[in-house]
Symmetry: C2
Subunit: 283 residues, 2 copies
């Protein structure tokens, strides 16, 4: 495994692999890797010849009062996990390498970035698609892998790749959860034992609604109410929305197309997100 910190060297190494007709897989991360990231690596290894993992805590996607400075980091451990997982290249640039002093051009997402997380984190998705767009241009992978936990991010990134004609396939991989249901997240490490117990309400609420959906419930308000009934142990529910899985627009009164039930909530000072897909075959 190679660890590379500059754009020039990364390009050089990937170009060599491409000339040897290797298929390149890419897993962009902010580090502090967990089983969720490693599942993305596994998916990449199954579908490509060379897996590149980027580790870059992207300042552009944090708001001024958000947790950039306390975002968990452990680069040595991340490197070991990548090596053990069969990653070929870890790309770990510093901030100046990605955002040199004169940097001023952003990628600006549209309607998909406005509801849910976008409503509470202005400029978050601008930061996400800008850094992902840059990383896509640096790595030039054939396929890139994202976790479904960041459902809106997947939608915004997929749209960006289509809109900007990036010839990259975007694969979304199912959320990995703790045995009790908690969605894996680097931010979980901030939870006290007591907070972790209360955080379970999020996945429990989503699962309860998904169960009801599977047994035939299609009424949007009913499904939201079922999830919400579980959510009284979180400290602040930021949103709980049932949206069309493609457009992210709020679902109509009765579900007719595949939808996603998405939630964001604070437990203590930690913000957590999660979602479940409610699949419907379109007529």
């Amino acid at each position: 495994m190679q660890t590379i910190t500059t754009v020039a060297e990364l390009r050089h190494v990937v170009a060599r692999a491409r000339r040897a007709d290797k298929r390149i897989g890419f897993v962009p991360t902010m580090g502090y890797l967990h089983e969720g990231h490693l599942t993305l690596v596994e998916a990449s290894r199954a579908q490509t010849d060379v897996t590149v993992v980027s580790i870059f805590v992207n300042p552009a996607q944090f708001g001024p009062n958000e947790d950039l400075s306390t975002y968990p980091r452990d680069f040595l451990r991340d490197q070991e996990l990548c090596r053990d997982a069969g990653v070929a290249i870890v790309f770990a640039p510093d901030v100046q390498e990605i955002y040199p002093t004169q940097f001023e051009t952003f990628v600006e997402p549209g309607e998909l970035a406005k509801p849910m997380c976008g409503a509470f984190r202005p400029d978050h998705f601008r930061g996400v698609v800008t850094v992902v767009g840059k990383l896509f241009n640096i790595v030039q992978p054939d396929v890139a892998f994202f976790g479904q936990k960041d459902f809106q991010q997947c939608a915004v990134v997929r749209r960006m790749a289509i809109d900007l004609n990036l010839p990259i396939e975007i694969v979304t991989v199912q959320t990995v959860r703790e045995p009790d249901g908690l969605a894996l997240s680097s931010r979980n490490r901030h939870l006290s034992e007591e907070e972790r117990r209360r955080a379970l309400a999020i996945s429990r609420g989503l699962f309860a609604a998904a169960d009801k959906f599977r047994s035939g419930e299609r009424d949007v308000e009913q499904l939201i109410a079922i999830a919400k009934a579980h959510l009284n142990t979180v400290d602040r529910l930021q949103y709980l929305e049932l949206v069309d899985a493609d457009t992210l627009k709020r679902a109509e009164s009765s579900l007719r197309r595949t939808a996603a039930l998405c939630a964001a909530a604070y437990v203590g000072s930690t913000r957590l997100i999660d979602n479940v897909i409610l699949p419907l075959s379109t007529p």
Copy 2:
């Protein structure tokens, strides 16, 4: 010469050339080609193996009250000119191919896009860098060629390519002029004979200032005043600015670094731009 209208086919044809180790040159245009465009083609043919010319009148870079609908077009003549000039591929997509219905992700330039044309044409450079970014991703050229007449555009596009890590060399080619000095522009065809005579004031003013600069004048206000003295025959001077050639910030009282004297003016209902570079070796 091949004329291609879809992204998929263009990609296919260019990928084949790249596999054969050909160097790809790209000249993005809005058509209605003139000697200026053909000089870009010549530069591309001298430096690359396969020259791609795009012909696409980009709605995203026109304001609501601008001349999108009257922008001159003559596709058959453009094709002939390209064939005669040794172009390998003409890429002429329709609007739906570049901006499908769900399109919503833009590339957003920064400070370089704010002064001069940016101040009078809000969102113009957003439209420019979005379409150029898309075309860069579609064509994936090694080098792209732009005319110096669009001086601010060159700066904004070059910045975009650096900021978004597009591995494309941007070459700026000197402005081509009529024997009497008028900068070539597709929009010149809208000028009546009488307007064309009056339009000459723009290049004459810029040249007069450049002459004075060559004989040692460094005072910013003096140089602007010399150019301005010629500009009384235009119908509306939109701007006349002496800016640092790299930052596009207004030059200080006495020139110390390479600057550009840039003008935009209406003659009749036609908006024309032009510029001259005042070169200084930086200490």
